[in-house]
């Protein structure tokens, strides 16, 4: 906790150390492979996710690794396209949430009233269990990608806001901050140069945790039918359809589940690796 003020190092080389340990290397490999597979899917399968075959609801086989769905479409292809939807969603949502949340948390140093007000608002958000909040957003915006994006951001804000605020509260009374103030350095400069660096470690680690939460949130909302709508595939939407055929073709949902678990596992390992790197002294 009692860390000396450090220059804001945007080269991120500190965090790259996480990828020097086996855990980090493994996590990075899985994430890179999944991401590449997802985003190259349109190039590799020019037929898109709607190419129908003759045989519906096939079990897993060498020809169709994850089997086929009710219209004879290959579930592996659909899962990859689904993963693409999910990853697009979280890769957009997570940085926004992290940046806005941090800003909201640190704003208390520039204006005390605004800071307190924002904390109260975040408290109200926390009062809503995650999924209920998601439902509220869907209620206003209707189902689909934008609503999911906004739900993820709104649900994530309090976490990052509080982390940043904790860093602010622990640092703002320290001598170096007072010294900087005495030197006439503006409050907003102090926030960027001194307070932000103290919050950034925790925020980055939490970011890796949050990506998993976000993917699961998409899946939860899509499973109940309030997320991504068919025919657009997402991992949750695939599970939603797969559940209807659970007795005829139990392996239908297995493919998307495997991908979800791999993704969650990789990001948990990444969290661990980042955590160790950050706490290494």
């Amino acid at each position: 906790m009692a860390r000396e003020p450090r220059r804001f190092n945007l080269t991120a080389s500190r965090y790259l150390q996480a990828f020097r340990q086996p855990k980090g290397i493994f996590a990075a490999t899985v994430i890179v492979v999944l991401t590449t597979a997802a985003f190259l899917a349109p190039a590799v399968f020019p037929g898109g996710y709607d190419q129908q075959g003759r045989d519906a609801l096939l079990p897993m086989s060498p020809e169709h690794l994850f089997g086929t769905d009710e219209l004879g479409r290959d579930i592996l292809v659909r899962s990859l396209f689904g993963l693409r939807t999910d990853l697009t969603l979280v890769y957009i949502a997570a940085p926004i949430t992290m940046a806005v949340g941090t800003l909201l948390g640190l704003i208390g140093f520039v204006s005390k009233t605004t800071g307190t007000l924002i904390q109260r608002i975040l408290d109200v958000i926390v009062g809503f269990p995650g999924l209920v909040l998601g439902i509220c957003v869907v209620l206003v915006l209707g189902t689909g990608f934008p609503a999911l994006l906004i739900s993820i951001v709104v649900i994530g804000l309090p976490t990052f806001g509080r982390l940043a605020r904790a860093a602010l509260l622990s640092q703002q009374q320290r001598e170096y901050v007072t010294a900087a103030r005495t030197l006439g350095i503006s409050r907003s400069t102090i926030v960027v140069r001194h307070l932000l660096p103290n919050a950034v470690d925790a925020i980055i680690v939490q970011g890796a945790v949050f990506i998993v939460h976000a993917v699961f949130l998409e899946a939860s909302l899509s499973i109940v039918g309030l997320g991504i709508q068919p025919p657009q595939p997402s991992l949750g939407a695939l599970l939603n359809t797969g559940m209807r055929y659970i007795t005829q073709s139990p392996t239908y949902i297995l493919g998307p589940i495997i991908i979800l678990l791999l993704l969650a596992f990789a990001f948990s390992l990444l969290t661990d690796a980042l955590n160790e790197t950050v706490n290494r002294k």
Binding site: V132, I135, L139, V140, S220, I246
Partner: protein, 350 residues
């Protein structure tokens, strides 16, 4: 989610070792009672604030959505006059604040309003679904508490490395896996591969308890295990932390048996944290019911919430959102009271 537990660690409470304070349960009961009153008067303003804000949110949100329920209700090709008549009848032409006050007034009198879409009182709709969700949530809460506290205590007690690593694997797995995935995996495992339990549908508990339980086990377990892992992890951490306190060393030095140390000293001092986290988790449990009910095809409040969002049934959804927040807040308050009752420093220092 981050656990912002504002509770101090409790080391002093049992600091004097084996001679546990037994100054009579009567004194304690009296103090607790007056404390509860004090505590409530202190807490109620902030609770009311959260409730009022969330009721406004629950009221405004559906109305921000595009679409006019009066047009929907009027059926295909309505004349403007019909739409206007329906709007008048539903009170939709009144200013928003007046609609809100009417709604709140009704709520306080126990009148939850009338569903636009299903043409039935909201209270009746909710009552029809309540049993299913209550059964699910009650069993899930039981499993969560039993498994969470059980594993947490095992993990926090001096045990073989073997036992502890099994508990660690359980915790890490279920901390990472949300209820819907647990549910899907349970369906695949116990419903399809080894067809032991039914995977979808339900049966009222009072119609046939035996069959009802069979339908309940999988969804309740799916709902409970991820939350149980949170409880277990927290209790374990807190027990291990308290075990390293000086007063435990003192008790060991005085020759108190390891069993008694664990139960009387370590466990008792860690329990407060566990109670708080259980209270927080019950809200999540209820939210998780939305997905779990959908996966297991149960007709509870969760599926009512989903269908009323899909059909834009304002009054139903706003009551459901409101009650979810209400229940979460009340349970949190209860757990804080229990916490204070357990910890003399909070109780007496308050």
């Amino acid at each position: 989610m981050g656990l912002a537990l504002g509770c101090p660690t409790h080391q002093v409470a049992e600091g004097t070792g084996a001679s546990a304070p037994s100054s009579g349960p009567l004194v304690l009961a009296e103090r607790t009672e007056s404390f509860v009153l004090q505590f409530l008067t202190r807490k109620i303003p902030s609770v009311l604030f959260v409730l009022v804000v969330s009721s406004i949110v629950a009221f405004i949100l559906p109305r921000l959505a595009p679409g006019d329920p009066a047009v929907v209700l009027a059926g295909p090709d309505p004349s403007p006059a019909t739409v206007e008549a329906i709007r008048q009848q539903l009170g939709l032409n009144l200013p928003l604040w007046q609609q809100y006050l009417d709604w709140m007034g009704g709520l306080l009198k126990g009148d939850l309003g009338q569903s636009y879409v299903l043409h039935r009182p909201v209270g009746e709709l909710i009552a029809g679904r309540l049993e299913s969700t209550l059964e699910l949530a009650a069993l899930a809460a039981l499993i969560m508490i039993a498994v969470g506290l059980g594993l947490g205590m095992l993990g926090g007690s001096p045990r073989s490395r073997w036992a502890r690593s099994i508990i660690d694997v359980f915790n890490t797995t279920f901390l990472a896996v949300p209820p819907f995935l647990t549910g899907l995996l349970l369906i695949l495992l116990l419903g399809i591969v080894i067809p032991l339990l039914p995977v979808s549908g339900e049966m009222g508990f009072f119609e046939d308890p035996g069959i009802s339980i069979q339908f309940l086990i999988l969804p309740a377990t799916a709902l409970a295990l991820p939350q149980a892992a949170v409880v277990a992890r927290l209790l374990q951490t807190s027990m291990l932390q308290i075990r390293s306190e000086d007063f435990v060393d003192l008790a060991t030095a005085k020759g108190v048996s390891p069993f008694r140390i664990t139960h009387k000293h370590v466990l008792r001092n860690s329990f407060g944290n566990a109670v708080v986290v259980i209270g927080l988790r019950i809200g999540e449990l209820l939210a998780g019911a939305i997905v779990v009910e959908s996966i297991f095809a149960r007709n509870g409040l969760g599926s009512l919430a989903v269908s009323s969002v899909q059909s834009r049934d304002y009054l139903v959804i706003q009551v459901l959102i409101m009650s979810a927040v209400f229940i979460a807040v009340v349970i949190q308050l209860l757990s804080e009271i229990v916490l204070a009752a357990l910890d003399p420093r909070i109780r007496l220092g308050a």
